[in-house]
């Protein structure tokens, strides 16, 4: 029997915090507890991902509900002394709002946590994901026992249908409908698959769910098995998620031991077996049919959809495939009822959605919000706004390589499937990359095309060659080789790729280009016609110039320049030697007085007066693409 302890220090054991040094902090915390003689009343527990990844390693102390961030082993003695012995929050490590001095010790008052509504992540940071007892304490497997003893499969399907839950993997297909189809079809064998092959750049929702609450995923899968009368499940996780694989395996083993998996679950005679299949990390294997082929041991390529997977999927048997987050929602829905779930979010998009908030934002991390929450609330209230003070919000990229970039005017739309789609992006699996105004949108589109071209399986022509051709065109534009008509080619080709590609990867691959073309067309035109990257990201299309009127001669850029291209005496305006300049933008990032201007590449050889004139235009905001005429006439 374990003895009860006075206080639990829930140290985040998610991948992010682990990388920031959780293990060392844990060791020193335990050491300190021993030294002070409180190791019998205070206990350190490695929890799953807490969500506040930006400030890792983080820790929440219960029952005090105090939150600590950025914990270093050397801070531990002070922390233990103050919090655990004297019983007052240790101010040094408490959360402080960006650029404010006041610390907020209570986890419930921190804006990042305050505005969230936790359903899928309700156990994050509260339980030890490696102990089934912890999960059971939090009402774990209660939904399963209810479903197995009191509900018929049809009733379970009905609850899921009524809840309005839609697939959280990206497409938003109604989960109840999928299950209904799976239940209707009769077969000697049916399979349940959990899709944990999360691969969007900047997305880590599924990983965190699997790491912080593996039992919720497993319970959701068994419930799906009960509802569709299938007896075998696979969890497909990419091998790049070793911690998720480890914790899921521990959880599965515990379930077999406790009679929650196997031939006689909870003594009801229902049989369900579960197995982890580790994917080799191909993005396309997140596509349902490619995933199934991968489990079959074949090359992971999508198959044409002659049949739905619910009719003929894995090993040609009916297969019900759901995303990690979708499945983790199920126990809650069964337990609290469809009405409760519907009360969150909107009519078409019920419930909550987990987003991975990354990019140029203060509070990088994992957030769960009802689907009627606006982008502004997520980015500015929860996310804490843009990191750099002098930078402004430019766009948010939603849905990874299949999604698009949404500009500022859409900040007040809710994150529902419909509203986001209308704006030109998709909810997708929930990656949310925030970009400030130092981001070049052409380069961003190029980044995503590089990703899709690289991850295309190579089966169908439009995706295999089309994405590569688009990437090459964007590359040319960024290198200053763009020609008039390139934009039209990109648009025309995108249309054909969307229409002709075999699977979702190709059908959505042009989205990043189309959405940036829709909202940031002028930037493309400036790249092509003016040979000018106004953000200075594309080094071949920018000239850096110090405006003498604004330069205070502080020397910051001079010290930062890697090639000593900046020269000048202290307190006197500096100059950039164009011969030496690498166009790395370091000086521009460093300057506090906005005195460095980014001009077109052609300005490198232009005369002094002309550059001055251009710089003035840039300051006034009146420069840029003007139809067919270039800004610099002399070139």
């Amino acid at each position: 029997m374990e003895t009860a302890v006075r206080t639990h220090a829930m140290l985040c054991g998610g991948t992010g915090c682990m990388a920031s040094g959780t293990k060392k902090v844990k060791a020193s915390l335990e050491e300190e507890f021993r030294k002070k003689g409180i190791d019998d009343e205070a206990k350190v527990v490695l929890s799953g991902c807490n969500g506040f990844c930006a400030k890792g390693p983080v820790m929440a102390v219960y029952p005090d509900e105090t939150f600590y961030q950025d914990i270093r082993p050397e801070d531990v003695p002070g922390l233990v002394e103050e919090h655990f012995l004297k019983g007052r929050p240790y101010e040094k490590l408490a959360f402080k709002e960006h650029d404010k001095k006041i610390s907020i010790p209570s986890i419930h008052d921190i804006p990042f946590f305050k505005h969230q509504v936790l359903v899928v992540l309700k156990n994050k940071g509260i339980i030890d994901p490696e102990r089934i007892e912890d999960y059971i304490t939090m009402d774990g497997y209660k939904a399963l026992s209810r479903a197995l003893t009191l509900m018929k499969p049809e009733e379970i399907v009905k609850v899921v249908t009524d809840s309005g839950l839609r697939g959280r993997g990206g497409a938003g297909f109604p989960t109840g409908k999928k299950w209904e189809l799976g239940l209707k079809i009769k077969s000697d064998e049916k399979y349940v698959i959990c899709n944990g092959d999360e691969g969007d750049p900047g997305a880590f929702m599924d990983r965190s769910v699997m790491e912080s609450d593996p039992h919720a995923v497993i319970e959701g899968m068994i419930l799906c098995g009960v509802a569709t009368e299938s007896h075998k499940g696979y969890i497909y996780v990419r091998a790049e998620y070793p911690l998720a694989v480890k914790r899921l395996q521990i959880a599965i083993d515990q379930c077999y031991k406790s009679g929650l998996l196997g031939s006689n679950i909870l003594g009801t005679g229902f049989a369900f077996d579960l197995e982890i299949y580790q994917g080799a990390g191909a993005f396309v294997c997140g596509e349902a049919t490619a995933l199934m082929r991968s489990i079959e041991g074949k090359r992971g390529m999508p198959r044409p959809k002659l049949w739905r997977s619910a009719v003929r999927g894995l090993w040609d048997r009916p297969t019900i495939l759901n995303n990690v987050e979708t499945l983790a929602n199920i126990p809650q829905i069964i337990l609290n009822g469809a009405g409760w779930y519907r009360s969150l979010g909107t009519e078409e998009s019920a419930g909550t959605k987990v987003f991975a908030l990354t990019g140029d934002i203060n509070n990088v991390g994992l957030v769960e919000v009802p689907m009627d929450t606006t982008l502004r609330r997520i980015i500015f209230d929860i996310g804490g706004g843009i990191t750099k003070k002098k930078r402004k919000f430019k766009a948010v990229q939603l849905g990874g390589p299949s999604g698009g970039c949404i500009p500022g005017e859409f900040l007040d739309i809710p994150v529902t499937y419909e509203a986001i789609k209308q704006s030109g992006a998709i909810v997708g699996s929930g990656g949310m990359v925030v970009m400030d105004d130092s981001t070049c949108m052409v380069n961003t589109a190029k980044f995503f095309l590089d990703f899709t071209a690289d991850e295309s399986c190579g089966k169908c022509v439009p995706c295999r060659i089309g994405t590569k051709v688009m990437y090459d065109l964007l590359g040319d534009i960024c290198k200053g080789r763009g020609k008039a008509g390139d934009i039209e080619i990109l648009e025309d080709l995108s249309e054909d790729i969307i229409d002709a590609s075999l699977c979702g990867l190709g059908q959505s691959a042009p989205n990043p280009v189309l959405s940036t073309l829709k909202y940031f067309r002028r930037e493309y035109e400036m790249h092509i016609h003016d040979k000018w990257c106004p953000t200075g990201v594309c080094s071949d299309l920018s000239t850096f110039y110090i405006d003498e009127k604004l330069c205070k001669g502080c020397g910051a850029c001079l010290r930062a320049c890697p090639t000593d291209a900046v020269t000048g005496e202290k307190k006197k305006p500096h100059k950039i030697d164009q011969e030496q300049c690498l166009h790395c933008r370091t000086c521009w990032d460093t300057c506090k007085f906005d005195s460095i201007k980014i001009l077109p590449a052609t300005a490198r050889n232009a005369g002094h007066a002309e550059i001055r004139h251009l710089a003035e235009m840039v300051t006034a905001g009146s420069a840029g693409f003007r139809g067919k005429e270039s800004v610099i006439s002399s070139q």
Binding site: S456, V461, A500, L502
Partner: protein, 271 residues
């Protein structure tokens, strides 16, 4: 039977057949490169795309079942445009070395480019210049001409049960190769050469022997063993220069193991 309309023409086909099969059975041609009736639908080349009334997007006819009441159009401007783009994309890397390619004259991609092709590409061409793989004794693999329709890989695995070829890598740099890039050592049935729509897989012994149009072809029975497969021999000036299995030729129903157009093994290459 399923009743549907293709290009305004009322046709009927047996249940469970695809739109492409229904069209071909009724004499309506749809361009295609990765389809073979002996193989499972693949849906890779996207040339057989057709428009179905009431559907949001065009569909690949080789991978869509023909169902009652469908109204299908196989040659609309939209479909033609997609085919043109797809061919244009294929020609981004496919070398135009037709003058020195033994496939010229009976090359599917050449014929399609003739019908749909745009002589000037809008894209940045990146021609493949990989040297042909001549390691194997009888089959030459010219990966730079390959358009990755996967027919050779599938006929070898699905049909011959051999699996001597595979798709290696992913995305644009994918290539068809024997395992570990070693020499192709198999039964040399030659099916891969016969199904290849371009000149990517060619008989080494026939290389630079004759242009396809100067060969006189005759169907005969293979004398190698007792199976009696139909062979199509190509000769020039009284000399046999090539043997191949022609689609739909021969009286295959006589024996189970020698289906039409499928000569077995060695007979083909040891003429």
């Amino acid at each position: 039977m399923v009743k549907l309309k293709i290009n305004g023409k009322k046709i009927s086909t047996k249940k469970g057949s695809t739109i492409l099969e229904a069209a071909l059975d009724n004499g309506i041609n749809i361009p295609r490169l990765c389809h073979d009736k002996r193989l499972a639908p693949y849906g890779g080349c996207r040339l057989c795309i057709v428009e179905i009334e009431g559907r949001r997007k065009p569909e690949a006819s080789c991978a869509t079942f023909a169902t009652d009441g469908l109204n299908i159009w196989t040659d609309t401007p939209k479909v033609r445009k997609i085919r043109q783009t797809v061919l244009e994309l294929m020609l981004v890397h496919h070398p135009l070395d037709c003058p020195v390619c033994d496939k010229a004259g009976e090359c599917n991609i050449q014929d399609l480019a003739y019908e749909y092709g745009n002589p000037r590409t809008r894209f940045i061409a990146e021609k493949n210049h990989a040297l042909p793989d001549t390691k194997g004794p009888l089959v030459e693999l010219n990966s730079s001409r390959c358009i990755l329709c996967g027919k050779c890989v599938r006929i070898c695995a699905e049909h011959q049960g051999k699996g001597a070829l595979g798709l290696i890598g992913r995305g644009f740099p994918t290539v068809v190769q024997p395992a570990f890039g070693e020499a192709l050592e198999c039964d040399y049935c030659g099916q891969c050469i016969d199904v290849c729509p371009t000149g990517a897989l060619m008989s080494k012994t026939h290389k630079f022997e004759a242009r396809s149009w100067s060969l006189e072809e005759k169907d005969t029975v293979c004398p190698f063993c007792g199976c009696g497969c139909t062979l199509t021999l190509g000769s020039m000036e009284g000399k046999i220069l090539r043997s191949r299995g022609k689609e739909d030729s021969g009286k295959g129903e006589r024996r189970q193991w020698s289906k039409p157009g499928e000569p077995m093994q060695q007979g083909k290459v040891w003429y």
